[in-house]
Every structure is written in structure tokens, then in C-alpha cells.
Amino acid sequence: MSMTTTDGTFTHPALFYRSQDEYADRTVAFVREGLAAGEPVAVAVPGPNLELVRTGLGGDARDVTFLDMTDAGRNPGRIIPGVLRAFADAHVRVRVRIVGEPVWSGRSAAEYPACAQHEALINAAFAGRPATILCPYDETRLAPDVLADALVTHPTVIARGRERVSEAYDWQAVVARYNEALTRPPEAGVLAFGAGELPEVRRFAVGRAASLGLAGQRLQDAELAVAELTTNSVVHGGGGGTLAVWAEAGQVVCEVRDTGRLTDPLAGRRPPERGQIGGRGLLLVHYVADLVRVHTADDGTAVRFYLDV
């Protein structure tokens, strides 16, 4: 297996694996190839797989950055800014190499569309950048349509030790397919707002979220995230919108709808420059939430975020 690319192009292969041994062999070889070429290397995968790579690397593990993806990448929407770009931007002017595993068999039905869109958007976020991001997929435990999506979001795929071009590659198709309409449950508490009601809508969100069990830092994060989404609606989304808050499977969900359309698929996924004035609102929502889902169309946009109680 050789995917070493020394020019400035971006390489984004999917790795289909069928056993722990195969996983360890392939990822460790990939990491060692990068270390040998002098590339900074990060491994961001779920905890048990992290240990497989660490053990396989032995002493070489000290030269590698390890991140548990179930924590750093719990919300798929923060993986590009918080994990991948954060690592790449810390090593400018050199090629970087990352093992990134954002999709695992425990991902929920609500999370998966955001995972697939994230995988697709990596191609846009890293176009023209000198990086190799290898994305492992567990062939034995992931659903066939998840594996089929991986062929659409990755230009190449490695299976049984052979790398081939994916004929199905078309990342925009996955962004569009998982831009799914979102339905509010009937029990959701809903409040309409305009520019004059931003403090009221924030207080409404805090009151509802607290009554549904959110507290402490998580409640403060919900208030901040609602403030950013409702402010976006006032400034960019037609001057106002509606907020809904409800509980779902151990989480509190807050959703803001307005009549705007989100045209930039990477909105909220670009790390800002330190001195940059705007562009942190949606990024904040991605950073603090456990999941963010978006649906945008000509007649409006809905952004909802989930926080564990």
C-alpha cells in the first residue's frame, strides 16, 4: 500500500477493513509511511481503535498526535475545524497525514446524515491543500448504504490491500442527499421572534432547556448557541424566525427556522483567523453541541442542535 504523495495535492482515501488485525496493519503502515517522510501525523479514531494503532506503533507512537474521535468528533460538524484543520493549520508549509474515523457502528440515525455530509465536505475544505486523510470504515459492522456513501465521498478506496479509484465519487451528491427536511415534534415549545425579541427568545430557550434537564455549562452553551442562531436569522435570515425546544432520546434539541437560505456548505466549519471579526457564530454552535443538523432550501433554513442532558 503506497499512498505517499509529495506534491501539494489533497488525498482522501477510504479504508475498508474487516478485522482488528487488518485495521492495525493498514493504519500503522500509513502512519509509519508519513513519519518516514517527515510528515506530522495525527490519528483521530474511536478509543478502542486508537489503542490498536498506538500498540501497533510501539515507540513510534510518541511522534503521533492521538485524539479520541468519539469525543473530539462527537459532533461531526466540528471535525473539520476542530480536528482536521486545527492539526493541518498548526503545521503550515508541510504535508500532513491524518487517520480520521468519523463513522462507527454506534452512530445514531440522527447523527449519520451529519457524518456523511462531513465526509463529503472534507473534499471542499482541503481542496488544493497538501494533506492525506485516511478514513477507515468497518466493513463487517456498518450498513451497506453507509459503505456505498463512502464510495461517493472518497475519490479512492482501499480494500483487501489494493487502492482503486472510486467511480462513484461525487461528494456534492451526498451533501444534497442528506440535506433532509427536518420535522418538529408536536410537543415542542415554539416561540416566534424578530430583532426586538432576541433577549426574550434566549430566556425562553434557557427556561425550556432547564425544565427538560439541561444545567450548568451545557445550559450556558445552549443559551449561547440559541443567541447565535437567532441573531443569524435577524441579520441574514429575513429579520426573524421561530425557535423550538424539545427533548429527544436523552438530549435537549433547539431548532431555529427562518426564511433565509444557507448557500455556503462550509459555513461554520472554517477556523477563523485570530483577529477576524465575524464568522464564529455557527462555528460556536458546532463546537459546543453534540450534534448539529441543517436543512436549507429556497423557502427557508432550519438549524437544530442537540445537547446531552
Binding site: 430583532a195 426586538g196 425579541e197 432576541l198 433577549p199 426574550e200 434566549r202 455549562q217 450556558q220 452553551d221 443559551e223 449561547l224 443567541a227 447565535e228 441573531t231 435577524v234 441579520v235 477563523p272 485570530r274 483577529g275 471579526i277 465575524g278 464564529r280 457564530g281 460556536l284 463546537y287 459546543v288
Partner: protein, 114 residues
């Protein structure tokens, strides 16, 4: 009908009262820092940086809420100070949270908690 709570009361959103500190260099603010009060907040920060030397104080014990753009304005003002530091006193909880998320190594700002 109670006139004070009736139709005559116009909802104008967040209110912010901001001005110079008495006896020390810097500003104090009271209310909320959000999209409808951003201009007066930014103007006050501009005035602070114009008068700044060594240490400026930003007293926020009366501020209930500050949004991302409000903290961004503060951080960018601090970064652009030619020298010295900014001491932010008793801010609402959003401020240390956002500084920690977006400017974890910003030494120019010192926060004294509530």
C-alpha cells in the same frame, strides 16, 4: 388598562448602558451585549483603546449576557493594543467560555471572575 404594560411599551430588544469608569482608566457596562447594542459596545472599546496605556479595566458586573461578536470585539481590541493589558472584571459566564474556545492563549486579557 395599565399603560406601563400596554401597547405603549415598545419592544426594542437588548439594552446596554456603557461609559467610562470613575477614577480608573477603562469602561463599565450594564445590560446586554448583542446585535442591537453592538455599536455602542464597539464605540466604547474604540474609546478605551484610544486612551489606553499599560492597564485598562472593563467592569462587566452589570452585564447579563454577551454574544460571540461582543467577545470578538473585546478580544480584537485587546490584541491590537500597542502595549500592556486589559483587565475584565466580573464578566458574565459566556465571556470566559468564548475566550477559552476561540483565544485560549490571549495573554493580553486578564479575567477576574464574578
Amino acid at each position: 388598562m395599565d399603560g406601563a404594560d400596554g401597547p405603549a411599551r415598545v419592544r426594542t430588544g437588548a439594552v446596554l448602558d456603557v461609559g467610562p469608569l470613575a477614577g480608573r482608566p477603562g469602561i463599565r457596562a450594564r445590560g446586554e451585549i448583542g446585535v442591537s447594542t453592538r455599536l455602542s459596545w464597539e464605540n466604547a472599546l474604540t474609546e478605551l483603546s484610544r486612551r489606553h496605556s499599560e492597564v485598562s479595566y472593563v467592569e462587566l458586573s452589570g452585564v447579563r449576557f454577551v454574544d460571540v461578536a461582543g467577545v470578538t470585539a473585546l478580544a480584537v481590541t485587546a490584541m491590537n493594543l500597542p502595549e500592556g493589558r486589559m483587565v475584565v472584571e466580573r464578566p458574565p459566564p459566556q465571556l470566559p467560555r468564548l475566550l477559552d474556545l476561540f483565544w485560549p492563549s490571549l495573554r493580553r486579557i486578564e479575567v477576574t471572575p464574578r
